[in-house]
Amino acid sequence: MADNERWLTAHHDPLAALYTFSSCMALADLHGDGEAKLIIADLGTGAYNMKLKVYKGTNLMSENTLIDLPTGVITFHMDTTEPRVPAVAVASGSYIYIYKNLRPYFKFTLPTLEVNPAEFDAWGQARDDLLDVSMLYEILDSLRQEVGECGLTTRSQRFLMCPDHTSQTAFLDQHKGFILKRQTVVTCVSTLKKSHSEDDAISCLVLGTESANIFILDPEAFTILNSMSLPSVPVFLSVTGLYDVEYRIIVACRNGQIYTLKRGTKIGRPTAELTSQPVGLIRRDKTVIVATMDHHLHSFNNKGKRLWCIKLPGAVLCLECLELRTLSLTLVALALADNRVLIYRDKHLVDTIHTEDRVSAMRFGRFGREDNTLVLVLKGGGLVVKILKRTARFDIQDADGPSQGQVVKLNIPKKTKLFVDQTMRERENCVLMHRVFQHDLYRLRLSTARSYVQALETSSNPISLSQTEPLKLSAQVLGLGPTFKLRVELQNTSPSCPSLHLAVIFHCDDRVYSVNKSYIQIPILVPGIIHVAETLLTCVSELGISDTVRVFVVKGKSSRPLLTAVINMPVAEVFMAA
């Protein structure tokens, strides 16, 4: 492992056997002794053996068994008693378990949802043995088609998952006696300071649920203070402000959208649309930074305007905000699938940490007595604690930033009255102007097509595209006058066929020009070879005018020329001088 000069490896335990995610880790001084502990909700095997673990320094200090899979761990102050020790809230299933001094203190249950009446009736009849197992299965299965899997209660979902008749019967017999309830689960959890913004002020819990709601809980009575709804399931929350004054909750949802909730709003306002599903959301100052599944890191302002977006070299596993108070800097750490942790300052990469495995969870903060500590949990269960050196600096050394040209302000002239009037006119008469333009365009195309057809019919073009005699002609006028030399180059452009019986004829007004050789016989034209035919042309007019000379290429006795070139003759010098 290439050691990094900015980070000290304080602890490395590859055999810690932790299975957790960033949302299930927290750092807090749980005992008021000035030493921050690491709280990890361990998912165990993913099915059982879930534990709430607390590390003091490098030692595992305590373990509490959790009943269900944890989805979030957060520490918050729920009262003003001394010493000021925070409570731990563990979100798990439909419940929030509150621990004080690492002892179970309270369990909050999410409000139940309305059960589908058809489903309720079906289970009621099944309880009274009016429906047998297979009929119940059919009713529930058709209901699932109708309202979707998530519209059913957990019991119906489980029942539909039973593979055969006997297990379905067993399940029904076991559960039919209980009341049918439909519960939602917590997807994400955060805190919101209630009325003071100090570090150890009382905070409310903010919960996001699978039923696409946001609940704000009172920290003392654990009642729902405020309930808000979203169009999709929230997955990441960022909360700022005070509950009693003004607050703002930015939510990244499973549908790839970001919504904003403010005090007084009941429904989330769409703020930004992501290109893919979010894998992490953090907020710093007035910007929101979101990593998405399509390997991008986006930065938005509070209004949802995208400030920048960078392509990352790999898939992002987790995202963490590094707030360095000593340097008054906020950095973003991204764990990538290629065993690296990249640290960005805005959009500039300032540091890279290499790990021996993929990082599945990260938490930065005060751990023990050290302020700038980064705790990494690896995919294989390892625990790594990195401490930022006192002397570490994160300066942007590379000059990859915006170039000088982008900074220079363009000198844009002021809008004149004429410009404004013209714009107004264009805005008002846009339909008419467009029609006129289209009309003229069609006419132009028509006349172009007509001239083209005419040119083809009269063979008055210098390149013959006919299949039998593909020829190219170019003519040049040499000399100043009154005698000019006309030089005609002929080329056979066919791949193999030679051309025979060709002749060049010069045609002009005999009052203006006299041609020395008006008819030149061309020998056999081999493909690719340029043949030059030349003649002298004398200007005989004394009026000092110039005219056009037509060059025809004819074949045999045909009355229609193969090619035509029109040469605009220059004025003879002698007469110009005269």
Binding site: L8, R369, D371
Partner: protein, 187 residues
């Protein structure tokens, strides 16, 4: 140094003066350790985190020590280097129960040893592997290994397990330091 001076010092008629620098991470027990050397009436009952630095004077075996008790907090550690120039000895206190931050202590020690004022001098360094009474504390041998003390070849050093609250091991350590400073002064 003349024969007369030597005689005077040997008889203990004149005291020698030496200033020592006390450094180490925050919460390692530097102020508590120095508190132990104060006379009964000067002892403070409650030790609070040092801000900046404190100057303490104490006497050990005929040598008057002026100890600069530096604050170990991260933001004050940059002050340490200003006192490197005029010290005759260094006491480096390590919290041996804080395994997580041994690496930070090592980092600070390395920066101290690499400092131009220190690198070339034959300065005696006394290490206190403090807080030996705490249950999670590691032995002084392990602290010595974690700090990489075996790499220090051009300076005399000594490590002592200590408990600054009860005073265990402190006198043993300071005795070693006094001998080293005396040797240096007699040269």
């Amino acid at each position: 140094m003349g024969v007369f001076d030597k005689l005077v010092f040997a008889l203990g008629l004149k005291k020698r003066e030496a200033s020592v620098l006390v450094i180490g991470l925050d919460n390692s027990g530097k102020s508590t350790m120095l508190n132990h050397f104060k006379s009964e009436d000067q002892k403070s009952t409650e030790i609070v985190p040092t801000v900046g630095f404190n100057v303490e004077k104490f006497k050990a075996r005929n040598v008057g020590f002026t100890a600069f008790d530096m604050s170990g907090q991260g933001r004050y550690r940059s002050l340490w280097e200003h006192y490197y120039h005029d010290c005759q000895g260094v006491i480096f206190v390590v919290d041996s129960s804080d395994k997580l931050r041994l690496v930070v202590a090592k980092d600070e020690l390395d920066m101290f040893l690499q400092h131009p004022e220190i690198r070339t001098r034959r300065l005696p360094i006394l290490f206190f592997a403090n807080k030996m009474d705490v249950r999670e504390a590691v032995s002084s041998v392990k602290v010595s290994a974690a700090l990489g003390l075996e790499r220090i070849t051009n300076k005399p050093w000594h490590i002592t397990a200590s408990n600054a609250i009860t005073g265990d091991g402190l006198h043993e350590g300071v005795e070693w330091l006094t001998n080293q400073i005396k040797e240096n002064l007699n040269k």
